[in-house]
Symmetry: C5
Subunit: 93 residues, 5 copies
């Protein structure tokens, strides 16, 4: 899992039926100092996150499908699983 910021949504009319009615969130990975990095992912949301939120992203297929109760073969890999309140962090160089 990694820390990320929700920075947008992807709009696609033509898409796989699994994605109908699901918001595709653009999440930007943060570094250990909570600064944005160039790395992003397109995730499905499980915790009602919104643009600008500081979130926790889980990115492994088998676990992601379980989180979404989506059957064990659904096309999902990255899921927003938490909204971060605080990171208690020590001695990061």
């Amino acid at each position: 899992m990694y820390l990320a910021r929700v920075v947008g949504n992807v709009v696609a009319t033509i898409k796989h039926p699994f994605f109908e009615g699901r918001k595709l969130m653009l999440v930007q990975r943060l570094d250990l100092d909570h600064q944005p990095t160039p790395t992003y992912d397109i995730a499905v949301d499980d915790v009602q996150a919104g643009v600008g939120d500081f979130v926790l992203v889980f990115d492994e297929g088998t676990g992601a499908r379980q989180i979404l109760r989506a059957g064990n073969t659904a096309p999902v890999r990255a899921v927003i699983v938490g909204i971060v309140d605080d990171v208690e962090q020590y001695g990061i160089g």
Copy 2:
């Protein structure tokens, strides 16, 4: 999932039978500003995408096989799952 541009096709006469009749699309990964990066993948298409299209690529094996209804052990990992109309994006630095 990530944002990509379809930039070509791969032609291979000698190949695994699974790929017979399937177009192998060369997709170039885009960064958060939608600019091309040096990273690419060779994907199977599920949404009738063409060269030049701005697409959504899913890249996890188990989910990819389900999208293509290809049996749970087919040799596929990256699939084009959507054609992107718009990315609503905020505050990307």
Copy 3:
């Protein structure tokens, strides 16, 4: 598996139920000279590790779920599986 230092914890009130009562540890990956790198992960703990500890992190979903006896579909990928006493190392350039 890789060597890491535990550098903090992530606090999230809104999160997936699986994470209730589990501490989310922020682990910073170390290089071959045991120096910190910019790479981190958010791991679940299996060995009572604390902040500052030099640990061994396992990062594959299927194995991670088994370690935690968490069912074969739980949302977990990185787990702290050992506290490192020593690394016997030779000829690292």
Copy 4:
């Protein structure tokens, strides 16, 4: 999948029995301009590729095992699945 050039073979007398009688091919990943990159893999061959060939490499475990009809738990991840005749490519910057 990615584009690669076969650049050699690995010779190992002491090895896992699965690899007996199988050629371990050293494949060098190519970039979008078909130039060699520093990235390589050691792959099993499914299409009678030889040194110097321009090939298509598939690199996901579950699919790789199916390609080789090797049982669903064999120690294989990268497989040469095609010999590339041509890449029809447009507008690569």
Copy 5:
């Protein structure tokens, strides 16, 4: 799979029971010119490799568990599967 050099062992008193009696080998990934890179992994050994050996490392969970006959959910991902005698290599730039 990739080429690596065994450069040490990790000693951990407090660890997951699976690792009791198994040597945790520190392996340093080599590049195409067989030079050491900064990338390492902590692997389990299947071929009686020792420090200094030039080895072949397999790094996918499902296959790794089969190699070790360790049940299909054991916490293992990287395994030393061969001792390299020679790499027949051509035209590496």
